[in-house]
């Protein structure tokens, strides 16, 4: 079919092993949770989840070197495998930070961990999707699990309200994305990304503009880019904090994977202007507006979850700089920054969760004097904030350096300059938290403690921040190989 190599059932299962292992782990958790007594503490749930994620990670590593199509709609190539590895590592940290919080706030823990595994499965499918139908189905799979996770605390009005808003907004945007995909199908007669690229060369091009806008709407929603960002602050604030950590990182990994795959494969930059299907002009505008808007609004926030929500909107703008560079260096930069952003943001959220577990507040003013009550947590939060701001020796710095240098190489000096200016602006609101932690007096001297799982998550995040920041060379060959999938 479609002129692809015929794979045996065993080969197909082998190539889909990361996805199948995640599915199996999710089903095992649902089954064991259903038959185990309700009152049991179920400490085994995060362990089984982590085992599932680790098994899928090992499977993804073992598949390194393959570059083949599976079932006509998926690809097992270095790009898909890097996306899977980043998503699996990020989800591992999410599981570690969720343990205490979910035990304290919900009776339905099995479903929570199963949903996390199914979300990871959706991201893995998106990483390798080479067909618009597969892209849409996996997108919806990820969206539906995200809506449920956002409204997971059914008794909490804010959580429910955030989930309904997120769901309605997402459903409308999803319908528009599907509408745009149907236009592409109407134009080309195919949903296969590579076939769309060849068919579009013989098609009347101006019709591509609205199709592109509709499909881009779905992508922009997933990564939280302006003007489809409005759901993010409300969903982040209302969702359980571990879910906020998940929402701030995982859908972005999936969104950028799909943006790169769809745009670089189906719509390679043609240089014919936006009406000819050159999406770079559209994304340049979105990138500049997104990073500026996110940073400016973040400055006025007093709630740390809301502030990190706007910060994550700004981060999506930075990452788009690498996408519009549309080069091997640009794709490498996007992958590097996604990894840097994942470990950094999850590290920051791990501290927020540790704080929230004991103090029950997400207000920045309540962080006053944290360095006396929990010096370790204070230091880790500061390291993560400095990395988000792009200070040298951290992962954020190396990521931004690669993104902006890719833009410079692509002749987009003005966009790189806007990125640098925005990085400087972002220091002002990260400073607000650092000031509260170190310069404002604490209301009480009571010490804060962290659970072992949370400590492991914090350790992993900080190690990641410095490992990527100081030794990026260890990863760059891997990421360059992934970027070469799109042929530069």
């Amino acid at each position: 079919m479609f002129g692809e190599p015929t794979l045996t059932l065993g080969q197909t299962i082998g190539l889909l092993s990361p996805e199948l292992l995640l599915l199996l782990a999710g089903l095992i958790i649902l089954g064991l949770d259903a038959i185990s007594p309700h009152k049991e503490e179920k400490a085994w749930l995060p362990r089984v989840t982590l085992a599932g994620l680790a098994a899928a990670l090992v499977a993804a590593i073992m598949l390194w070197g393959y570059n083949t199509r599976v079932l006509a709609v998926l690809s097992c190539d270095p790009f898909a495998l890097v996306i899977k590895m980043v998503a699996l590592v990020a989800m591992g940290i999410v599981v570690l930070v969720s343990d205490v919080y979910i035990r304290a706030h919900s009776r339905y823990q099995g479903e929570f961990y199963a949903l996390l595994l199914f979300s990871t499965l959706a991201i893995c499918l998106l990483g390798g999707a080479t067909n618009l139908i597969m892209v849409y189905l996996a997108f919806e799979f990820l969206s539906i699990t995200s809506y449920i996770l956002t409204g997971y605390l059914r008794e909490d009005k804010r959580s429910t309200e955030a989930a309904i808003k997120y769901f309605l907004y997402g459903a409308a945007v999803s319908s528009i994305m599907l509408y745009g995909m149907s236009w592409f199908y109407g134009l080309t007669g195919t949903t296969d990304l590579a076939s769309i690229a060849s068919a579009l060369t013989e098609t009347w091009r101006p019709v591509i503009l609205p199709s592109l806008v509709f499909v881009a709407a779905g992508f922009a929603f997933k990564i939280g880019a302006v003007p489809f960002h409005q759901w993010a602050p409300d969903a982040y604030e209302g969702a359980p904090t571990p879910v906020t950590a998940f929402l701030s990182v995982c859908p972005k990994i999936a969104g950028f994977a799909v943006i790169l795959r769809v745009l670089m494969t189906a719509l390679p930059p043609s240089g014919l202007g936006i009406l000819g299907g050159d999406w770079r002009a559209l994304l340049m505008a979105i990138s500049a507006i997104t990073m500026t808007f996110g940073n400016l609004v973040a400055m006025w926030q007093t709630n740390i979850k809301r502030m990190l929500a706007y910060s994550s909107i700004a981060q999506a703008g930075y990452i788009l700089v690498g996408v519009v560079s549309a080069s091997e260096r640009g794709v490498t930069a996007v992958l590097l920054y996604l990894l840097a952003y994942a470990v950094t943001n999850l590290g920051a959220f791990a501290v927020v969760i540790a704080f929230s577990n004991q103090i029950g507040s997400d207000e920045i003013e309540d962080y006053a004097g944290l360095h006396k009550r929990a010096p370790g947590l204070a230091l880790i939060l500061i390291i993560c904030l400095l990395s988000l701001a792009g200070i040298p020796l951290t992962a954020g710095f190396i990521g931004k350096l690669w993104l902006f240098s890719a833009a410079y190489e692509a002749g987009l000096l003005w966009l790189a300059a806007i990125g640098v200016i925005n990085s400087v602006i972002s220091v002002s609101y990260y400073w607000k938290i650092i000031r509260a932690i170190y310069l404002l007096p604490a209301e009480t001297e009571e010490r804060l403690s962290t659970s072992p799982a949370l400590s492991v998550a914090l350790g992993l995040a900080v190690t990641g921040v410095f490992a990527v920041g100081i030794f990026p060379g260890l990863l760059l060959d891997l990421l360059r190989t992934a970027a070469q999938v799109f042929g530069g």
Binding site: E161, L168, A172, S175, L209, P210, F214, A217, P227, L275
Partner: protein, 94 residues
Amino acid sequence: MSSRKSGEWMDAAWVLVMGAQGGLMIALPVLVGLALGFWLDSQFGTLPWISIVLTLVGATIGPIMLYRWVTSSVTTHLENRMKNKKQQDEETLE
């Protein structure tokens, strides 16, 4: 039980109507912007610039309108549900 079931159906219908209206809210401004842009471009011989600008204006207005509408509708819907539930509880007690 039957009133609960009819409430669930009402919720499902409400979500369907919201989804359909929401989709139109994003699509229409884009298509109107594009059509108007093409017409203006053909009048002034400026293709594609006015089309691009008006399509992007439409693409920006749509999600802003959608979010405002979703926020107000959800708040009203949740308030109405609370009111109905309270009323039902009072009737059951009587």
